[in-house]
Amino acid sequence: MSAIALERARSWRALGWVTWRQQRASVGIALCLLAGAALILVLSGVPIHHTAARLGPGWWIQTRRDGYYSWTTGLPLLVQAVPVLAGAFAGAPLLAREAEAGTLRFAWTQGTNRVRLLVIRLIFILVLPTVAAVGVGLLYAWWQHPMASAGVERSATISADLLAPSFAAWVLFGVALGVLAGAAIRQTVAAMGATIVGYMALMYVTALHWRNRYLPPLSGPASRAGQDAVSLNQFQAFPGGRPLTPSQLAQNEHWYATHHVLTWAIYQPASRFWTFQWIEAGWLTVLTLLLVGATIVIIRKRAV
């Protein structure tokens, strides 16, 4: 190994120590949030699995009737909050707190380039929580398995953003958004607020408008779409898909039968589920890289 390479390796290790010493609290917060989510999933998942094994495939209907497990539909909401909380509490303070305390004036005048300092911090604060988030996403797949095999409609219990690929990508995005907000706003509380607002806005638009349209939807008789398909629209139509006019809709059943009227669906087939997962993870990762780039530009240009 050449002397320069040796020196470089030494300095990366040295910077690694610095970053770990300073960022361990923030990374710890993010990891605690994820651990809390994992704990919720394990504690609730074990009895669900137990009940499902005992009662067989009809467990969901049976327990539903008795009012058990109705809370399971609310549970994903708690886990869904993890990425935005990680962004607000671990990402946003990364630069904002130092700007407020005035310590950027120390950090940026030592013998280490400020961009290098930022990059190594980002590696810590982005990679560790994201790896943990993959674990939570896998745990969620285990958690919702009894519901899926009981034939519960996917949209009822499965939040697509909680499975491994997209959940990890949302954590990545949340933290990177927090760091950028901290760099741009330089006040911890304001940066936390901006992170929460920005994250919720993107989350909302994604869930409502984008997530089910990553590929053009298929159309066909509803009976052929399959139980796990995500239905975007359904209407009464002639065989071939032409919708009934309002006056035709008012016809009697005999008219319906003679014209072979059926329910037509615009849908995303269940087979696309994982493709969509990776598409969502993909564009979120690209967006994260853009946020990191913007943060670096701000850090290079900005005065203290």
């Binding site: 020196e7 300095s11 040295a14 910077l15 120590w17 610095v18 010493r21 300073q22 305390a101 005035g102 310590t103 004036r105 120390f106 950090a107 940026w108 005048t109 030592q110 013998g111 280490t112 380039n113 300092l117 240009k301 005065a303 203290v304």
Partner: protein
């Protein structure tokens, strides 16, 4: 060699200019005091010199051509910002270890030696140290980089007189030991004469004075004489300030070798008197001609 050079340097924050048209050539080997009232642009100038701020106009370089904020400049300059910011939640030992890992040229013996001399407890959190101890720790870190220039922003502002004295003596000890150049800002104008041998006066973002203390003291004199004749008699003496108190007028001016007007007596001035006279007369200036500002 010049430790700091600037040409037409200016910095604008939103609408207002914090520093304007600043031409400086500060030679190496001096302890330079940068003096001016609050809001004069001292911190702006120092931040420009260490790369924490970028110039809106003109250019600035340190140590003969290094760009402020470049790795070479960062390595060569030890900077202590105003209020000596350090990581208050870290113990002293960790703070030192952190600084060591950030600075390739770190002199560990020097750092630990100074910390031991100062009696700073390594396990104590930085935030729990007194203001004087924090300032000393920040100076220790800046010196342990083995810099060629030390830049200190208001190092004395928050220190009590005893801590001030101790800080200055350890600074002067380091200067004697290493022969490094020092540039420090201060709005305290007393005591300057003991430590500084080069003076820069900034006022409202404008450079007023830049020169060696000995030269300034040699060229500036106080003429004292009858009040009625003061303005007229000293007009040719580049008067900086005419202070008319009672029947006598005190005129701080640069008489050069001209004969003293009748009825006036000549007195030597202290650095403090020179500084105060300039600060009270923002339009006066004592700057080297353009020829002395070398590229």
């Amino acid at each position: 060699m010049n430790v700091l050079e600037s040409h037409g340097l200016g910095k604008r924050y939103r609408r207002a200019w914090a520093l304007r048209d600043c031409n400086l050539a500060v030679p190496a080997g001096h302890v330079v005091a940068l003096v001016g009232p609050n809001g004069a642009g001292k911190t702006t100038l120092l931040h420009l010199a260490v790369g924490l701020t970028r110039a809106s106009a003109g250019d600035i370089c340190v140590l003969d051509g290094l760009a402020p904020g470049s790795t070479a400049a960062l390595d060569a300059i030890g900077f202590v910002a105003q209020d000596a910011p350090l990581y208050k939640n870290l113990p002293v030992a960790d703070m030192l270890h952190l600084a060591r890992n950030l600075n390739p040229g770190w002199d560990d013996q020097r750092a630990s030696g100074r910390v031991a001399d100062l009696g700073l407890p390594p396990r104590k959190k930085v935030g729990a140290l007194s203001g004087g101890q924090q300032a000393q720790l920040a100076l220790t870190i800046a010196l342990a980089k083995r810099p060629r220039v030390l830049i200190l922003d208001e190092p004395l502002a928050r220190l009590d007189p005893l801590a001030r004295h101790e800080f200055m003596s350890s600074l002067m000890g380091a200067v004697a030991e290493d022969g490094l150049s020092v540039l420090f800002s201060s709005h305290v104008v007393s005591e300057l004469e003991r430590v500084a041998d080069y003076l820069i006066v900034l006022n409202s973002g404008q450079l007023q004075v830049s020169g060696e203390v000995d030269d300034l003291l040699a060229t500036h004199k106080m003429l004292i004489g009858p009040r009625e004749q003061a303005t007229e008699a000293t007009a040719a003496f580049s008067p900086v300030r005419i202070n008319q108190a009672g029947a006598q007028a005190q005129v701080l001016c640069r008489p050069a070798d001209r004969p003293v007007p009748a009825g006036f007596s000549v007195h030597a001035v202290s650095l403090e008197e020179v500084v105060l006279a300039y600060l009270r007369e923002p339009s006066a200036a004592a700057l080297p001609g353009p020829a002395m500002v070398l590229r």
